[in-house]
Symmetry: C2
Subunit: 187 residues, 2 copies
């Protein structure tokens, strides 16, 4: 296993706690216990609670980035690949997942500045989506809609039916396809 698999164990434990018991139960002791480690051991890896939360954010931003990048790379088509990546990741690959939810909430609670790694990722993505070979406004709308799915899962504002979610996905996907066709004659 990697050198820092222990660190990742700890981060996962922290995520689980935030997810199951809320941020107020994210204490050094509870994280240590959940990770099967002593408090001293936890503090060895993350010297402060803030460092722990920063670790959570860095980790989730890295994972999210990797996931999106993978989808972009594996896409055979160039036009719309970024927009499609977000669609796929959100609708078919369960991202952003609960780990991300906890990380976001923890950071927002402890110190919003910790979210910067994620902000940077989002800025880049927005640029890529606007230069995805599609109409930038339409592409942005598609991205916003996927973020809407995320929001609804994060706060459980409403449970979209799986069938309906699939329909939404198909329609958005088709939308990208139609844009592609309508612009390929105007290079």
């Amino acid at each position: 296993m990697g050198k820092n698999s222990r660190k990742i164990d700890i981060l996962n434990a922290a995520s689980r706690i935030v997810e199951d018991k809320g941020i107020f139960n994210l204490t050094l002791e509870s994280v240590a216990k959940e990770a099967g480690i002593s408090k001293g051991g936890l503090l060895y890896h993350f010297p402060t609670k803030e460092a722990l939360v920063q670790g959570m954010v860095d980790h989730l931003a890295h994972n999210y980035r990797t996931k999106i990048a993978q989808n972009v790379e594996e896409d055979p088509l160039d036009k719309g690949k970024w927009t499609r990546a977000f669609l796929n990741v959100t609708f078919n690959q369960g991202y952003p997942n609960k780990e991300m939810h906890s990380g976001l909430l923890a950071a927002k609670a402890v110190k919003p500045e910790l979210l910067e790694p994620l902000h940077k990722a989002y800025e880049e993505w927005q640029t890529n989506i606007e230069n995805d070979g599609l109409d930038p406004i339409d592409a942005t709308i598609i991205r916003l809609a996927t973020d809407g799915i995320w929001l609804s899962e994060l706060f459980e504002t409403y449970q979209i039916e799986p069938d309906q979610k699939k329909e939404v996905y198909k329609r958005l996907h088709k939308w990208i396809q139609d844009m592609y066709i309508s612009t390929e004659h105007n290079p």
Copy 2:
């Protein structure tokens, strides 16, 4: 003026604290101070911290509901009025606002079950939007996109340019209009 204007003062104070200093600084003392009241006085109105947060959620859910309902009522057209209400409220009336952000985050931190009033509102709205006289999937996509705007403002994932935001609004609005035209011949 109203009997419980004091309660609302307190709720506003609590929102301000969450917004400016984060959830961990939402203590009984800090809320009391911000509201210009004593700790005892605060506890008179909200006997526990949980009750305070519940108060925040109830208040924001009520305000949001009212705002949406107003827009629906004032809409001269029937078809698409619910979908348009969300568009207008989100893009032109600054809702969900910071007060809502704080309430949501506080509830999620203290006890997610407290969000139920909001969940109920969302369920109803989803039903209304699906029966808005528009294509239900398209209407849902528009709603998801507005939620996406909300998410980005809540976590500041990326700052959408005001011009671009306006463009997005115009396109979504036009989309509703086009749907209206294409379906009005098939009653």
